[in-house]
Symmetry: C2
Subunit: 554 residues, 2 copies
């Protein structure tokens, strides 16, 4: 296809995974990037702090990257920006709240002079190189979220961002159906849409229902109320504050991220807080319990969060007591179930009443379910469709939904990160592949922990390590000191003296044998030791610790 008649869409993350959303759109020698999020590590990524996208492709093409457009302020859409903006010094376009949250993150880690931000609002239209980007209001579990209508010389691309069709959003900012319908009418070449809930039938409930449930709980609670929620869900926080006001309670905010977000949201006027209702923790401790609410982090049972510490009687200022009503206003993210359950159990043990999901109605999702996704598809009527933001099953389900509303299967692309999808007015195809993948962040190291290190951590975690140290003569190859044995995470050594002694016996006979067979290479001796000791320990314990022979030569 001719270059000026095609547009390429290159997902660099967010397909086949939840999180790490990032996508490049290229027209001739111009690229814009949509979002740059992080992902939290899988259970198998032992010791890893977070996961960011591999942006080699963008770095290779840094001369033609014109800007980064951000849909909303969640970590899976902005979390990798502090890393990426060290490499790409291009302007970031986002709405006010999104920028507020981003700037707080950048302050901690980036050189402010290299970061250029451009504040936009829903309804705005911005030209970036050859692209006209229309910011379209959508509803989501964070305020100020937008979808993108991107007009290009080849045709219009519509990217929904994360969204749901909330008919009664708390901030009354309804999704801009009219703009979406208008673009649909004019003709959309390619649509990319949020697949997170594509396997859920029906409609996602309105955020407002959570407020009604809060009201009901506030009406019944006779003592203190503690609400744990995602810090970024400002509508949720608004509803907690509104209920508190209605029932004559003061509110204290606890937990670093909750304090940060509330402060940013108030500064930027995204929270409507009646005067005097927010008080600090010292003050709230002096009030009668039935006049107080504590808003806190920890809805995912994160071990260091405020709520988890309260639950474990390990918070220095708040003690859970019988009579407390605790609302966990969130669902566990897959993988966090056990942590959340443990926190709930601990809170019950302290005598609190706990209201938790999935049966209580104190949480709703921020993502569209099947009927909403189909409605969006029908409104936009795209020629080509790419389901995005979801694990593979979600993408497949979303593709099936698209087919069910009449999009022809050959125009639906269930793509993979790194694939280059090329579209002309009447044709779409996968035309190539660029580097895309996961970069692991561990402490200060970005990308320095690879498969070998992870495999070793996994091995160490299962059966520990068994270290054998011997000192040998460089010249004669005879044993000078040792063998000494140190183990960690294998057996409790004081109770296994017999096993250790027997292993030393084995070692001495290996060393004798090596000597008599004139094995003089340390590597030969080491692999001998590894094999024999490994077999011996497995027979005796059915465990396979990492065997690490160390030979000191003098």
């Amino acid at each position: 296809m001719k270059e000026d008649q095609t547009i390429s869409i290159i997902p660099l993350g967010g397909l086949g995974e939840i999180g790490k959303n990032i996508m490049a759109i290229k027209y001739k020698q111009n690229i814009i990037v949509i979002d740059a999020g992080l992902m939290f590590p899988d259970d198998e990524m032992l010791g890893i702090d977070l996961v960011i996208p591999d942006i080699s492709y963008l770095i290779e093409n840094k001369e033609i990257v014109r800007g980064i457009v951000v849909t909303h302020g969640h970590e899976d859409h902005i979390g990798a920006l502090p890393y990426i903006l060290r490499e790409l010094h291009v302007p970031v376009y986002a709405t006010k709240l999104t920028l507020g949250l981003l700037e707080a993150k950048l302050k901690e880690s980036n050189n402010p002079e290299t970061v250029k931000t451009r504040c936009v609002k829903a309804g705005d239209k911005v030209h970036i190189g050859p692209f006209e980007v229309n910011f379209i209001r959508v509803s989501h579990s964070i305020a100020d979220a937008v979808g993108l209508g991107i007009k290009t010389p080849v045709g219009t691309i519509l990217h929904t961002g994360d969204f749901k069709l909330d008919q009664t959003p708390v901030n009354r900012q309804i999704i801009d159906y009219h703009k979406i319908a208008e673009l649909g009418n004019e003709g959309v070449l390619v649509m990319m849409s949020d697949s997170t809930n594509a396997d859920r039938p029906g409609y996602t409930l309105s955020e407002r229902l959570v407020g009604e449930k809060f009201d009901e709980t506030f009406r019944k609670a006779s003592e203190r109320i503690i609400i744990a929620s995602f810090a970024s869900n400002i509508s949720r926080i608004q509803q907690a504050i509104t209920s508190a006001y209605k029932y004559g309670r003061k509110v204290a905010v606890v937990g670093r991220s909750m304090v940060n977000v509330v402060s940013i949201a108030m500064d930027l006027e995204y929270l409507d807080v009646p005067p005097g209702i927010l008080v600090d923790l010292d003050e709230i401790q002096l009030l009668p319990k039935n006049e107080t609410v504590i808003l806190t982090t920890g809805s995912q049972g994160e071990p260091m969060s405020a709520l988890s510490r309260m639950a474990a009687s390990d918070h220095n200022r708040i003690e859970i007591i019988p009579g407390d009503t605790i609302i966990i206003s969130a669902s566990p993210i897959p993988g966090n179930e056990k942590l959340v359950h443990r926190t709930i159990d601990q809170l019950f043990r302290q005598g609190a009443e706990v209201i938790y999901e999935p049966f209580s109605g104190v949480h709703v999702s921020g993502h569209a379910s099947q009927e909403e996704l189909k409605l969006m598809l029908n409104l936009v009527k795209p020629k080509f469709f790419i389901p995005v933001h979801g694990e593979y099953r979600h993408l497949i389900r979303h593709a099936q939904l698209a087919e069910s509303v009449g999009i022809s299967p050959e125009n639906i692309f269930v793509a993979e990160n790194g694939q280059v999808l090329e579209f002309s007015e009447d044709r779409g195809l996968i035309s190539g592949r660029v580097t895309a993948g996961r970069v692991l962040v561990d402490g200060l190291g970005v990308g320095d922990v690879g498969n070998i290190v992870l495999r070793d951590r996994k091995h160490l975690s299962q059966d520990g390590i068994f270290i054998i140290v011997i000192t040998m003569s460089k010249e004669t190859g005879t044993l000078i000191a040792g063998p000494d044995i140190v183990s960690r995470g294998f057996v409790y050594v004081r109770e296994s003296e017999g096993l250790i002694e027997e292993t030393k016996e084995k070692l001495r006979s290996i060393l004798n044998q090596c000597e008599s067979e004139q094995v003089l290479e340390w590597s030969g001796i080491k692999s001998n030791i590894r094999e024999v000791v490994s077999k011996f320990l497995y027979e005796r314990t059915r465990r396979r610790p990492m065997i690490l022979p160390i030979i000191m030569e003098i």
Copy 2:
């Protein structure tokens, strides 16, 4: 209270946890034990294979243990018996299927001469010491499950076992309402009831609905059908076979535990299998795809299971191909969500259609929900109530349900494992505490992995290990060889030569300083090394590997 007027109930497991169910009932110098299950390890029990109850109390009292009564054949009720029957040579009372499953387990691990089993059936009454044990039919997700009505000189104890109130069970064996009502009428002193689903409103759906969903899926599927389920859910397997027969398909069974259970269930006539419908895998591979069904294990995404291996294209005989319809007939057990999701995604990637929970109706729970639990409470009308089988929040919710149907709060005991609950005709109290806890099984080791080993495994899993070896003179305290550094799971060494060299510099200066300050104790030198290196590495990497200094002396 006088000994002959009181009965003690001693939960040794299953309270505040899911699994590891075991309970002792004591009257004067007589104990019977109810169930003896295992639990699968938490994420934090790194490298542990399984968890069994601490039965020190029973071993101390082995002279007066009269028998073990088993409610049903699930692992969380029978899984610890192979271990416990090595210590206690007492008869085991259970129904035919339960014994069939148990005996298959015991064959692998126990001396058959020491194990005495007594086969009972629902409706039977057995005298064990002073106890008259009535076996009462209940519905559950395994056939031949019973509750227990235990008449004692002090009063009747009713233990529901795991149950649901299925009005249309697949095997038509409806829970014995009449016996339960009869006992309730005569007066039940203490009731213990299954709390697993005590936080779910409403009623648990009938197993039969799964069969209807199977039928619908079979009707629509145009190629092969693969069903993954718990091996022990014989009603589920029955329904799969019934649907296969109805739609003219043959069935092959795959996966070790599925093959075992189907064979036991057929031998004992718990499965109604039309002649010729079960064929082996070789044969089914030759049939047209639309005449075949494969029944398999792996519904929890267990990495070594048949389904997981098929999903990963790693099964030596079955390849997933486009056109396959795969039914995952189970819900993920908390903690398994990510494994199940990964399996589903891989199956979709192979081109299969996958039908999975929670939105498809191909699974129902085996445990009673709130309305059923209240009905059971109303039928039994116990004087005292102990919620059992559940994490703490389930016990609390069940206690709240009991209160809501009129049991007075002071007669409800939310107890802990190891507490001794003593009841007379008109009084109940917690009268003491015995040893109860978790015994970790790792390979051949039962109980030899404790907190220190687990803490080390956790530490090793996060940032690996950093080993420093030096050889020093015993007499002069001078350095003879080293420092050598070996790390695993910390950084990839080939890419971190600078860091290692700098660490060696640090080490040399520590050793010099120790020499000049005349620190001659190895322990002093080691703790010096640990402190300095730990701080240095943290500054440079923000990681905290385990630092292990080893000094060889010659």
